[in-house]
Every structure is written in structure tokens, then in C-alpha cells.
């Protein structure tokens, strides 16, 4: 039925299967949209946030998806600016994942602010000294870059490409993509960094506060670095999940191995910097503000030392070592395990830098505050995941996302007729579970 839209030389599942998948994920999406509308029309009393938890699940989700979406800017930088040509075989998917992550982040922010209709004040009445202003500007601009990077991919759809102007536009944009990618890397450096700065500048919150280098706290650099390191891991993980669901290889091993190796070394260097930062903070910065590690990890049941171990060792050092060891990296299962650990690690880091900052008491007569998100918060956090799955499903079906797919999966003449065999399912369920 839709075979005219499907890229040449590749096989896709029957339309009913595709529609069924869309329907299932769409239902989840609608649930999220319902919760979103509740938050917009009834206000943030729909959440379990309170005056101790001004920042909560949403801000964590925001920071996490932006870190995971960092694969787009870093892969773009490697491909277009540094010239790692092999990465052209995964850059499309990295861009798509980045586009999903960033649009999700903007959506979450639009739900999170108390007066969404005044959201433009952050631009119009900008306080240039606020880290959040820098986040808003660079985030929006970089979303523009991602749109520019995603657009040629959309235009490469078989039918759209037949229009001469569209074909020429795609061609010209591809030719000049390095300019956009470089601008994207510049913007990413600052917004990833300023997201780290959001917590790092809070001198009233010793758990978050870090010493500064010029006007930037160390978390600024750590966040940029970690996004560049862990982002590609997420790209690889989602690629792997997509391959499993599609039941075929989509990207050649040398491409995956190259990105995994670079990501591993970035993670390894990052984790050294993170350990140094943690040590300096634990033994110098925090004590100068009247706090010891015990105050942060030893006085309540929930936030204990396990968090430090989980984030830095299990979710940082171990996957980094796994990825820089060629033998382990070459093993598909171990590679996937390393990317899973890395994704968990960076999400934990973002969690700690948002939620534990809010939880830790500062005044001596104050106490730890814990919170459990309401279903509306959970639903609106899952909403972007469902949206992402749908966008991946549609893009995978109709756009030439994986340049190596046709070569890796040669199809028989009968398949080429556009009549698809069943048993080759779309990236539906497992991605939703991810």
C-alpha cells in the first residue's frame, strides 16, 4: 500500500504490522498527552513537586535526554569537522536520535514551567548571567541545527526526492553540512556545559556547588565532556535495539567499533576528571562550606554511598574500560552491556545533580526531603519516549536512515516488488521498553 514511499532496495514489514505498532505506542503517547494537558490546564499541582522540589523528575529527564542526545553533536563533529568518514553510516541515526531528544527536552520544559505562555520571557528579558538563560538560547538554537540536519534526510524520501528543487536542496545542504555541524558543536558545547553550570553555580547548595574556572564551575566542563562521551553510547544502544527488532544488521561493525572506541576513550578520560572533581569537592569545596561526604551520603537511607559507586564505577569506569579494550568491545554482547551501563551511569549523574541537590538539607535544622513523582509526571516523562519511538518507526520505514542497510541485506527480486514478507517487524516494542 505504501510501497511507493519505502526506500529502494530495502525490505519493510507489512503495513498492518506497522499500523499495529503505531497504534500501541500511540496509545502510550495519548496517555502522556492527556497528562500534559492536565498539567497545562490545571497547573503544576498535578505533580508531586513542592517547595523543596522545585526541580524534580522533569528536569532530570531533561538533563538526561540532552546528555543522551549528545551523540548527535559529537558524531557530527567527528564526521564533518574532524573527518572520520566512516561515521557517515551512522550519523543519520545519531541526528534523528538527537532531534528526538532535543525536541523532547523542549517539550518537557514547556510543561515544567509554571506559566508556559510566558516561556518567551527567558529570551526577551534574558538575564545573561543565568546558566538557565544560556541553556535556553543554545538549546533552542541547537534544535534549529538538528532540524537543519534532519531535514535533508526527510527530503530524501523516494517521492519527495523526485521534485527537482527538493533534490537540489538536499544536495546543497549535504554539501554544506560541515558549517551547520560546526555551529551545532559550538552551541552544544555551551548548552551541555551550562546545564552542568545550572547546578554548579548554586553557592547556596553545597552539594551542587563546584569551584570555578573563569566564570564556569567545573560541572560545566564535566557535563559537556560526559555528553560527548556517553551520547554516542546511546546512539549505539538504540542502533542495536533497532537492529534486534528489525532482525537485521543495519550498520557495519567497523563503524560501530570506531564510535565505541572513541566513546570509550572519552568516557575513560571523563571518568578520571570526574573522580578528581569528586575528590576535590568532597575534601576541599564541601568542607569549606561546612559539609562532609557523610552529611551527603551517610545520614539518610535513600541517598547512600552506593550512588557514588553506581555512578562512577559501575556506570562510568567499568563501561569505559570495557569499551577501550578491543577484545571486549568486539564482542557484541559485551558491547551492548557496556553501552547499557554507560547510559545508566550518565542518567544517574544527571539524577544526582538535580534530585539529590534538592533532597540534601542545608540549614542544620532542616531535614532530608524525598519525593515520589505523581502519575502525571511519569506519564509526561514517558510521552517523549513514545514520541521518539513513533518518529523512529516512521523515519526508518520511509527514509534512507541507514546507508549500509541495502548492502548488508540484499533482497530477492520478489521482495523488491514491494510485497513484504512478514516476520520482519518494525522497531516497536523493545524500543518502547527501553
Amino acid at each position: 500500500m505504501d510501497s511507493a514511499l519505502i526506500p529502494k532496495g530495502v525490505k519493510r514489514c507489512p503495513i498492518w504490522q506497522f499500523a499495529l505498532g503505531l497504534g500501541i505506542v500511540g496509545a502510550v503517547l495519548l496517555w502522556g498527552v492527556y497528562a500534559m494537558l492536565l498539567c497545562w490546564f490545571k497547573g503544576l499541582n498535578q505533580t508531586n513537586m513542592n517547595d523543596y522540589y522545585g526541580f524534580a523528575l522533569w528536569i532530570w529527564a531533561d538533563l538526561a535526554v540532552i546528555a543522551l542526545g549528545g551523540g548527535a553533536f559529537f558524531t557530527g563533529l567527528l564526521r564533518y569537522v574532524i573527518g572520520k568518514d566512516e561515521l557517515k553510516n551512522i550519523i543519520n541515526y545519531a541526528v534523528l536520535i538527537g532531534f528526538i531528544c532535543y525536541s523532547s527536552a523542549l517539550l518537557i520544559l514547556a510543561i515544567d514551567i509554571g506559566q508556559p505562555l510566558r516561556g518567551w520571557f527567558i529570551f526577551w528579558h534574558a538575564n545573561v548571567h543565568s546558566m538557565l538563560t544560556e541553556v535556553a538560547f543554545c538549546l533552542s538554537c541547537y534544535f534549529g541545527v538538528l532540524t537543519i540536519e534532519y531535514l535533508p534526510l526527510v527530503l530524501e524520501n523516494r517521492q519527495l526526492d523526485k521534485v527537482p528543487f527538493v533534490h537540489n536542496l538536499t544536495h546543497t545542504m549535504h554539501e554544506h553540512m560541515a558549517i551547520f555541524a560546526a555551529t551545532g558543536a559550538f552551541l552544544s558545547f555551551f548548552h551541555q556545559g551550562s546545564l552542568g553550570g545550572v547546578a554548579g553555580v548554586l553557592f547556596g547548595r553545597p552539594f551542587a556547588y563546584r569551584e570555578h574556572l573563569f566564570i564556569w564551575p567545573w560541572t560545566f566542563f564535566l557535563f559537556t565532556w560526559s555528553a560527548a562521551a556517553f551520547g554516542p553510547c546511546f546512539t549505539l544502544l538504540v542502533t542495536r535495539i533497532t537492529e534486534r527488532i528489525a532482525g537485521k544488521k543495519l550498520v557495519k561493525d567497523n563503524v560501530v567499533q570506531l564510535l565505541a572506541k572513541i566513546s570509550g576513550w572519552m568516557m575513560f578520560t571523563y571518568i578520571i576528571a570526574k573522580i578528581l572533581d569528586t575528590a576535590y569537592w568532597a575534601f576541599t569545596t564541601a568542607p569549606s562550606l561546612g559539609f562532609t561526604l557523610k552529611d551527603f551520603y551517610g545520614t539518610n537511607g535513600f541517598y547512600n554511598y552506593g550512588w557514588l559507586v553506581a555512578e562512577i564505577i559501575v556506570g562510568g569506569l567499568i563501561p569505559a574500560l570495557m569499551l577501550i579494550t578491543p577484545k571486549i568491545r568486539a564482542n557484541r554482547g559485551m558491547l551492548t552491556l557496556a553501552t547499557v551501563l554507560a547510559v545508566i551511569g550518565v542518567c544517574l549523574n544527571r539524577w544526582v545533580m538535580v534530585l539529590q541537590v534538592m533532597a540534601a538539607p542545608v540549614m542544620t535544622f532542616d531535614e532530608w526531603a524525598l519525593y515520589v513523582p505523581s502519575w502525571q509526571e511519569v506519564a509526561t516523562t514517558i510521552l517523549p519516549v513514545a514520541y521518539g519511538v513513533i518518529l523512529i518507526m516512521i523515519s526508518y520505514r520511509y527514509l534512507p536512515i541507514f546507508p549500509q542497510e541495502a548492502e548488508l541485506n540484499p533482497i530477492t527480486p520478489e521482495d523488491a516488488e514491494g510485497v513484504q514478507a512478514s516476520g520482519d517487524s518494525e522497531p516497536v516494542l523493545a524500543t518502547a521498553q527501553a
Binding site: M49, N50, D51, F121, L202, G204, V362, F365
Partner: protein, 272 residues
């Protein structure tokens, strides 16, 4: 930075709260809510959802009878001056310039119509002096007639906090200007909590003015970013370099220890 001109000499309005006098009666909280049209809900049992510009904390020394001791600590906004003037924890982070440090009065203001509710300021404030309007205010039938006409009510989705009864300052300045004056008398501008305190525990005035009682009680040293000269006085969490303009008095050592860590206070230079 000294500003002189239309509004007269620059002021540094501040508060001195004598914790040894405070009985914890809560009159300051009530007066504050009435003065500033602070909304309330039917169920205020969850204090993390209550809007309390002025909140009285109960502190204990943790000892058993007969050494047990308690202290009530009223906590308004501390109107932090920050490491350099205006670098308050909240003012420095607000992305939309919706909270501002007024160099003429030293008051940290909140511009309700400009705040879009990102709550970054709440995350930045270690005193929990900032509150979010999770709901639209609903006044019990007839009560809207008792609202203070000088103070705007707030809508849901924005942050609010103590502004040292700024509308009273504006009113007093208007009167002074009308009478051809540029300076206010000490008692012309007083906050609602100060006037309501039956124990006289709260004193309010200009910390820069040696004639004012707050100055005499706290004896702030301008060369040391307002460090109190009075050994009985301290500022909450002064070691964080927030440099608040609310001083607390107590002769009890454990109360001092509960309020700040004196040994960590960095001596700010006289570069100001």
C-alpha cells in the same frame, strides 16, 4: 556602590531578630499573610506546599530533661547581598530577570508578572524562603474584601517570597516626597511582622544608618560585608557567602551553632 539622588542615600534595609525573646507565637506569620495577601488552602498539613513568607522554625538542642532547650527561629527572606552586591543566590540565577536586587534599598524583589515559574530561584535558595504558587489563590467567601489593596495578589505558576513589605516602603516614600523629604524616619517604614511581634523580638530598619536600632543591635561592619560586631549576633549560613541582611541574636551557644558555622566564615576583604 552608593547611589544618591532622587531617592536619597542608598539604604540597606535589614532585620534583627532576637531569638531569646521570640516565644514562637506565630503572630509574625499571621501578620505577614494578612499584609501581603498570601493565599492559603483548606488543607495546609503539607508544609512543603504552604506559602509562608515568614516561617517560624522550632529548634532543639537535642538534649534530655533537664538540659532540654528550644528556640524559635522566624525565617523571612534573608535578602542576601551575595559575594558582590546583588549576587544573591536567587537573583544571580533567575533567567528572566524576574527577581532583582535593588541597590537603593538592598531589598530582593520578586516581579510577579515577569516570573514564568521555572523555579530555579527556589533551587538556589538554601533558606527555603521562596514559595511556588502550585494553585490559584482561592479566598473564602467574603474574604476578598479584606485583601490589602496595596499588594497585588499572585496567580498560580509563579514564585513569591517576602519583600520586606515593599509596598509599605513605597507608601512611606510617597508620603515623604509629598512632604518634600527624601529620607524616611526609622518608624515610617516598618514591616508587618515587626509591628505584630508582641515580644518585640523583631527590629527593622536601615543597617547603614547608625541611628537605627538594627545598626546598633547588629553593629554590621561594612568593610567585612556586614559581619556583625555584636558577639551575640549571627547570620544564617553565613559561611556560604550569601551575606544575608537578617541578623539573629542569641546568648545561647547551641543556637549560634545551629545557625551558622563561625569557624568557616571567610573574611571578605575591604575591596567593596
Amino acid at each position: 556602590m552608593k547611589i544618591e539622588g532622587e531617592q536619597g542615600k542608598s539604604k540597606k534595609y535589614g532585620m534583627v531578630i532576637d531569638l531569646d525573646k521570640c516565644t514562637g507565637c506565630g503572630a509574625c506569620m499571621v501578620a505577614c499573610m494578612a499584609e501581603n495577601n498570601v493565599p492559603f488552602k483548606q488543607d495546609e498539613s503539607d508544609k512543603r506546599l504552604s506559602i509562608t513568607w515568614m516561617r517560624v522554625y522550632q529548634l532543639t538542642n537535642g538534649k534530655a530533661f533537664p538540659d532540654a532547650d528550644i528556640c524559635y527561629l522566624p525565617r523571612p527572606c534573608q535578602h542576601c547581598e551575595g559575594m558582590h552586591e546583588g549576587h544573591s543566590p536567587c537573583v544571580s540565577v533567575c533567567p528572566a530577570t524576574a527577581t532583582d536586587y535593588d541597590a537603593q534599598t538592598g531589598i530582593v524583589s520578586q516581579i510577579y508578572t515577569r516570573c514564568f515559574g521555572c523555579r530555579y530561584c527556589m533551587a538556589a535558595c538554601p533558606y527555603h524562603a521562596r514559595h511556588f504558587n502550585w494553585w490559584d489563590p482561592v479566598w473564602p467567601e467574603g474574604m476578598e474584601k479584606y485583601l490589602n489593596p496595596d499588594v497585588s495578589v499572585r496567580m498560580r505558576g509563579i514564585v513569591e517570597k517576602c519583600g520586606f513589605c515593599f509596598s509599605r516602603y513605597q507608601k512611606a516614600m510617597e508620603k515623604a516626597h509629598y512632604e518634600g523629604r527624601r529620607e524616611l524616619e526609622e518608624l515610617e517604614y516598618q514591616t508587618a511582622c515587626t509591628q505584630a511581634c508582641p515580644a518585640g523580638a523583631i527590629v527593622f530598619g536601615d543597617l547603614n544608618n547608625p541611628q537605627h536600632r538594627v545598626h546598633q543591635l547588629a553593629q554590621p561592619d561594612p568593610r567585612r560585608r556586614g559581619r556583625p560586631g555584636n558577639p551575640k549576633a549571627f547570620r544564617l549560613l553565613e559561611e556560604l557567602q550569601t551575606y544575608p541582611k537578617v541578623y539573629y541574636l542569641s546568648s545561647r551557644e547551641w543556637v549560634h551553632k545551629a545557625g551558622h558555622k563561625a569557624e568557616l566564615i571567610k573574611e571578605a576583604g575591604a575591596h567593596h
